[in-house]
């Protein structure tokens, strides 16, 4: 099934997930959605659940406000008429901050470390506990 990239806008990407790659696009769907048969879920990495829970937390804090103030102050209003950089990748990375960072890093550890099952999960839980203080 071929779905080519369409549209000429550089801001728009449309495709089906590529076989053998594109895991990051479907990761949340295959871990968090789909039919679940409670009695037979047998994933040995406990830490996955923490990603889906922690990622729902949005922290509004003084740090966030200062960051917005900085972003507004750095704006070059005169340049807003021209072409704009593709911020999608950078934007997505910067979104994983504060409380969510530990969870995202933990899953990356977990899914790329083929042997590190429970050790990885324990370490990530510890990171989350530490960042709670």
């Amino acid at each position: 099934m071929a779905v080519a990239t369409r549209g000429t806008s550089q801001n728009y990407l449309q495709r089906a997930p590529s076989p053998g790659s594109g895991l990051v696009d479907v990761l949340d769907v295959i871990l968090d959605k789909g039919l679940v048969i409670d009695a037979y879920v047998r994933v040995s990495l406990v830490g996955i659940e923490l990603l889906t829970i922690d990622a729902r937390i949005v922290i509004a804090s003084v740090d966030t406000y200062l960051k917005f103030a900085q972003a507004v102050n750095r704006l070059d209003l005169a340049s807003q008429e021209g072409g704009l950089p593709d911020l999608l990748e950078g934007g997505m990375e910067s979104g994983a901050k504060g409380k969510t960072k530990g969870a995202v890093e933990g899953v990356k550890e977990a899914v790329t470390g083929n042997g590190k099952k429970k050790e990885g999960a324990k370490k990530k839980q510890q990171d989350d506990d530490d960042s709670d203080s």
Binding site: S9, N11, A60, M92
Partner: protein, 257 residues
């Protein structure tokens, strides 16, 4: 050896994909059952699967391939392992036949499209400064004085920007959904903690409406090019529309430990 499940289809004549299987690259992907609901499965060693990148990718790839081979596909979340095929037949295909048939009906000839929309940070901030005099004024003041003198002003500025951003996000998300929802059978919106997110949503589409959906998203993307970035992943197996959790039945109690 245990039985790992990928999804449920209607047709026992569906050709299983020849792709690497979860837990065993050389494992054969096969069908279980011959009645109204058929499970797509492979053997895995042991009773658990690790959530490795490779296995997650295989689960996704197999379901993606099945989407093009089956008119109705109920994808399972990663990690469903039954003790053996007999348990699959008894507890799932026969034991939950009614639920499975209802799910299959609901996704017959349908696919999922997953949309993520983000702001172009500088464009939306510029809009906010232009549209909100209070913000423009605080910006002027905090730019012209040394940082030490403007700590509380900067917090106030950031708070106003955050609030304006949230209002814009609600409005823009609403407009996107108003444009796209009519093309879909159903849709779900998700919380997206990313601060520049406009909306993250999954749409259930009739296969025949997929082109129209792509066109609509493409049109919006071109029109909003300066201020929005859209990413549309489609067609997908309808993960978001079969996200039911089937509670353990009595017969499964022995396996739950």
């Amino acid at each position: 050896m245990s039985t790992y499940l990928y999804g449920i289809v209607r047709d026992a004549r569906t050709e299983p994909p020849h792709l690497p299987a979860v837990g065993d690259a050389e494992g054969e992907i096969r069908l279980i059952g011959s009645g109204a609901c058929v499970a797509v499965a492979s053997d895995v060693p042991g009773a658990f699967v690790d959530a490795t990148a490779a296995d997650l990718q295989r689960h996704s790839d197999i379901l993606q391939e099945l989407l093009s081979r089956a008119s109705a596909l109920v994808p399972l979340r990663f990690g469903t392992v039954y003790p053996d095929d007999a348990a699959v037949r008894r507890d799932l295909l026969e034991g939950r036949r009614g639920e499975l048939e209802a799910l299959l009906d609901s996704v017959e000839n349908r696919v999922e499209a997953r949309l993520k929309a983000f702001y172009v940070e500088e464009a939306v901030l510029a809009e906010i400064v232009r549209d909100e005099p209070q913000i423009a004024e605080l910006r002027r003041r905090t730019q012209s004085l040394p940082p030490d003198a403007t700590y509380y002003d900067r917090i106030r500025l950031g708070e106003l920007v955050a609030s304006a951003l949230a209002a814009r996000q609600r409005r823009d998300a609403g407009e996107l959904l108003a444009r796209l929802a009519p093309i879909a059978v159903d849709y779900v919106v998700e919380d997206e903690p990313h601060e520049w997110s406009v909306v993250t949503a999954s749409f259930l589409l009739d296969q025949s409406a997929l082109e129209d959906f792509h066109s609509a998203v493409s049109t919006i993307a071109e029109a909003e090019d300066r201020r929005l970035q859209l990413r549309c992943l489609a067609p997908l197996p309808p993960y978001s529309f079969v996200s039911v959790s089937l509670e353990p039945m009595e017969a499964e109690a022995a396996w739950v430990s």
